[in-house]
């Protein structure tokens, strides 16, 4: 296993007068191909930590290393370039551009890394189809259900085959059926080798991870390694019943 992402002594403080310490000294390492969930109550620092590790925000102290490069002191331009190629992000509220179609939302990050428009348009088709959006490519975000919008957002995050996929409450704004679908897709991308780091309240999402890190008051309060799923004993054969 090789290390993909490492946070060392991460601290994030907000405010000038009365300082709020959102993250208070976190060390965290992600191996390539791992699926790690960050759990913890609201205000525990999950989202802040996620943003620091994904290069979306800068730490007050500490270091972030992504794929062998230290990213927390990079210029904004250099960091943006790294993010586009190496990090895909899924948010709770999808954050799709409302004036673009589903396909155009996914094409955009491909154009930003210099792919040709025609090439990008072709690449989007299997990506959206594979996420269950066949026939919905030209729909505007507002014409799509929450679950479909999140699948478009997932396609957008995966558009440049990022080394790291991060998600901030990716099922937090979905009903249980859509949440289960999106979780199933996240699990599939993981099985295909994708490295995943998700902040979540949803125990079901956390249970899909290889490792669950719990935060409390900006610090790591627990770490659990989950095993492969054990077989479930059913009390009776379902088909004997109906």
């Amino acid at each position: 296993m090789t290390v993909l992402l490492e946070g060392k002594g991460l601290v994030k403080t907000y405010g000038d007068g009365t300082k709020v310490e959102a993250v208070r000294g976190v060390d965290l390492t992600l191996e390539r191909g791992e699926f790690v969930a960050l759990m913890g109550p609201s205000g525990s620092g999950k989202s802040t930590l996620l943003n620091l590790l994904a290069g979306l925000d800068r730490p007050t102290a500490g270091e972030v290393w992504l794929d062998g490069q230290r990213i927390d002191r990079m210029s904004e331009a250099a960091l943006a370039k790294i993010r586009r190629r190496k990090v895909g992000v899924v948010f709770q509220f999808f954050n799709l551009l409302p004036t673009l179609s589903a396909a155009e939302n996914v094409v955009l990050p491909m154009l930003l890394v210099g792919r040709g428009r025609g090439d990008a348009r072709r690449a989007v088709v299997p990506l959206l189809d594979g996420l269950g959006l066949a026939g919905r490519h030209d729909a505007a975000p507002k014409q799509l259900s929450g679950g479909q919008q999140q699948r478009v957002a997932l396609a957008r995050a995966l558009a440049n085959s990022p080394d790291l996929l991060v998600g901030d409450e990716p099922t937090g704004n979905l009903d249980s059926v859509a949440a289960k679908e999106v979780l199933g897709l996240l699990r599939e991308t993981h099985q295909a080798g994708q490295t995943l780091l998700l902040a979540t309240h949803d125990a079901r999402v956390a249970a899909a991870a290889d490792r669950v890190i719990t935060l409390r008051d900006g610090q790591v309060s627990g770490e659990k390694v989950l095993q492969r799923a054990r077989p479930v004993d059913f009390p009776f054969d379902g088909d004997r019943w109906s």
């Binding site: 249970a207 627990g222 989950l226 799923a229 109906s242």
Partner: protein, 165 residues
């Protein structure tokens, strides 16, 4: 008695039907338990057993009496209690922490891992087990989510109490 709601059955047939339906849910009943239960039910007039004419093995075929059907209907119709105040984890937790046998946070963290692992197991369970199994899985997942929330609550209360002193 529910095993007799359909057709008449031998004691051995009841045992087989019971195991097929509830094999993993309830402890296995041995033949002795089945026959002593049938004898008690017969004494109470809830079932009646008779030797089939021509059967020289002396096996008795049992069926429900009218009183038995009423008793069964009454059991089925009575809702099961809703409050779940008996919780094995909490019993251990309360006992162990009150006498200082274990660190409360360690117990909570271990239990949380077990619940998360169980959730993972259930999510990976094959869908093809049939509709009843799927309902059971969905119910078990909802209970596990509630149990995990309860652990969060216990943990935050303990933390508050510690702060208050």
């Amino acid at each position: 008695m529910a095993m007799l709601a359909g057709e008449r059955e031998y004691g051995y047939g009841i045992k087989q039907a019971f195991e097929a339906k509830f094999g993993d849910l309830l402890p296995v009943m041995n033949a002795g338990q089945i026959y002593s239960t049938l004898a008690r039910l017969e004494r109470d007039g809830l079932v009646v057993g008779e030797v089939v004419p021509g059967d020289n093995r002396g096996k008795r075929l049992y069926q429900l009496t009218d009183a038995g059907r009423q008793e069964l209907a009454g059991w089925i119709e009575t809702p099961v209690p809703g409050a779940r105040l008996k919780d094995e984890f909490f019993m251990k937790f309360a006992v162990a922490t009150s006498v200082g046998l274990a660190d409360p946070m360690t117990l909570i963290e271990r239990q949380r891992l077990e619940y998360l692992q169980s959730l993972r197991d259930l999510d990976a369970a094959p869908d093809g087990k049939g509709p009843a199994a799927q309902l059971l899985v969905d119910g078990a997942i909802l209970h596990l989510k509630a149990d995990l929330e309860w652990l969060d609550l216990i943990e935050s209360r303990l933390t508050q109490w510690e702060r208050v002193g």
